[in-house]
Amino acid sequence: MIPATPTEMMTVAAARALQSTDVCFVGIGAPSAACNLARLTHAPGITLIYESGTIGTEPDVLPLSIGDGELCDTALTTVAVPEMFRYWLQGGRITVGFLGGAQIDKFANLNTTVVGDYAKPKVRLPGGGGAPEIATHCGEVFITMAMGNRAFVSKLPFITSMGHGEGGDHRLRLGVKTKGPTRVMTDLCILEPDPVSRELMVTSLHPGVTREQVQEGCGWPLQWAVDVATTPVPADEELTVLRDMHARTKKAHGVAG
């Protein structure tokens, strides 16, 4: 077996965070790969929900968009989008929201809106989509994104979806009772918020990754857990299922998804 690439390690680490009993609101891209890997390995009972209204979907190939026909064809049921956001997300029926982002800060707030000034942006990003409310309505939020000091930044130019705000009990002070981001799975490590300050700290390093590498990929001085674990190497089964899924996806629509 060819060893896992950093991206594969990230997807496997993200998939492992999910359980069979989860009801998961899936973002497109990296989260979608992780959620379906979990469904096809250790979490066969997981309910995957995409914002296009598909509930309990079991796609054979990864969707390119959140509304591919494959999602509807394999779903338990498909509801209209207002119902999805009102009854299912706002209704508090989702245990995990799985998000990616362009930029993240040390309190796991996310930016997917602009780089630079909003009125005169250097880079106009797609915007929030479902994320602003996914971030506050789901029981907890997992985030997966690759590290790099343009992505992990000390100050976000724009907060699209709230993580732990300014830290501490900021969410609670705004009346938000859900946990918010509890885990960030990257290509180098896993980060979790400190129980009190809510600042992200590294809790697990992927095999072969050094602390220096992780710090280089982050725009703020990182906090480290007292005992930093080593993320278990991906099992052959995890890698085989992931690679097969990407191969089917590439065959179906020309990109790996």
Binding site: S52, G53, D68, V81, G127, P132, E133, A252
Partner: protein, 289 residues
């Protein structure tokens, strides 16, 4: 005795006539379809007819508004996620926002939850939508239409956005029958809400049938008296898809990234594939898959 009231029902007409009769420069227009059933043929007809200065409303601008924006048809965009799904940027949207090409574009930016609620409020004839949202985000700082209200029962602060009431909503559906009723199945998005929220509506369909025949009792039907005009345009949702007719052309979505990245390449593509085409040319995309 009650006077006999005439029930206006949807008129079956050509797409060209429907757009000419019901879409004016300066209108607010919602073209909906959440990944599925995106009314591309109708948007191309708007471009061919040179209709300009539009306020375009749509949760996910997608390629359909990238094209309208790049062709200079839009004055303002009301939206919640402006990317090419699974591929990357909408380059024409970005060029308009970042560089003002081909002209300035005013943005009114929301979250999906807000837009979905706002369409529903429009359909329900309410002035605004109320929901739990926008907590801890910067969006209210850049969008003055996002406000809040205090719940009269609990005192909770709730987010509000104005109802969406387009001059015209345009959707693509699967079938229409001879009485102008419209049938939708699969991923429904906010199409029903968009039509019921609008002053007028145009629906393009894959096919017209005499009668829908046996169907599930919960199939989504828009009665003919809720729709203004219907045009049969087989393949009219390409490169998005029509449930049971043809699949989403994901390869085209990937190709679009290259086409739209460059202004000249974009203009050449639009001239060849939109300006020099007619609605009938969509038929090649129907039923094939």
């Amino acid at each position: 005795m009650r006077p006999i009231r005439e029930l206006p029902v949807a008129t079956l007409m050509s797409l060209k006539d429907a757009v000419a009769a019901h879409v004016r420069s300066g209108d607010s227009v919602a073209m909906e379809g959440f990944t599925h059933l995106i009314p591309f043929a109708a948007s191309h007809e708007i471009i061919r007819q040179g209709i300009k200065d539009l306020t375009l409303i749509r949760m996910t601008p997608d390629l359909i508004y990238d094209q309208l924006i790049g062709m200079g048809a839009a004055r303002k965009l009301i939206f919640s996620w402006g990317g090419n799904p699974g591929v990357g940027s909408l380059h024409r949207l970005r060029d308009a926002v970042e560089a003002g090409w081909p002209g300035p574009l005013e943005l009114e930016e929301h979250s999906h939850a807000a837009m979905a609620n706002a369409y529903e409020a429009g359909a329900a004839n309410l002035p605004f939508a109320v929901f739990r949202g926008y907590v801890g985000t910067d969006l209210p700082k850049v969008n003055a239409t996002i406000k809040s209200v205090t719940c009269p029962y609990t005192g909770e602060q709730l987010a509000t956005v104005p109802a969406i009431r387009p001059d015209v909503s345009i959707i693509h559906a699967l079938k229409a029958d001879r009485r102008g009723n419209v049938l939708l199945e699969g991923i429904l998005g906010v199409q029903k809400e968009a039509v019921l929220a609008a002053r007028k509506s145009i629906v393009t369909v894959e096919e017209t049938v005499d009668d829908f025949g046996p169907r599930n009792a919960n199939t989504v039907i828009l009665p003919g008296w809720t729709v203004t005009a219907i045009a049969a345009v087989p393949g009219g949702a390409f490169p998005s898809y029509a449930h049971g007719y043809y699949k989403r052309n994901n390869a085209f979505y990937i190709t679009w990234d290259k086409i739209a990245r460059d202004r000249e390449t974009f203009q050449a593509w639009m001239t060849e594939h939109v300006l020099n085409k007619r609605p009938e040319d969509y038929a090649q995309h129907g039923r094939a898959a």
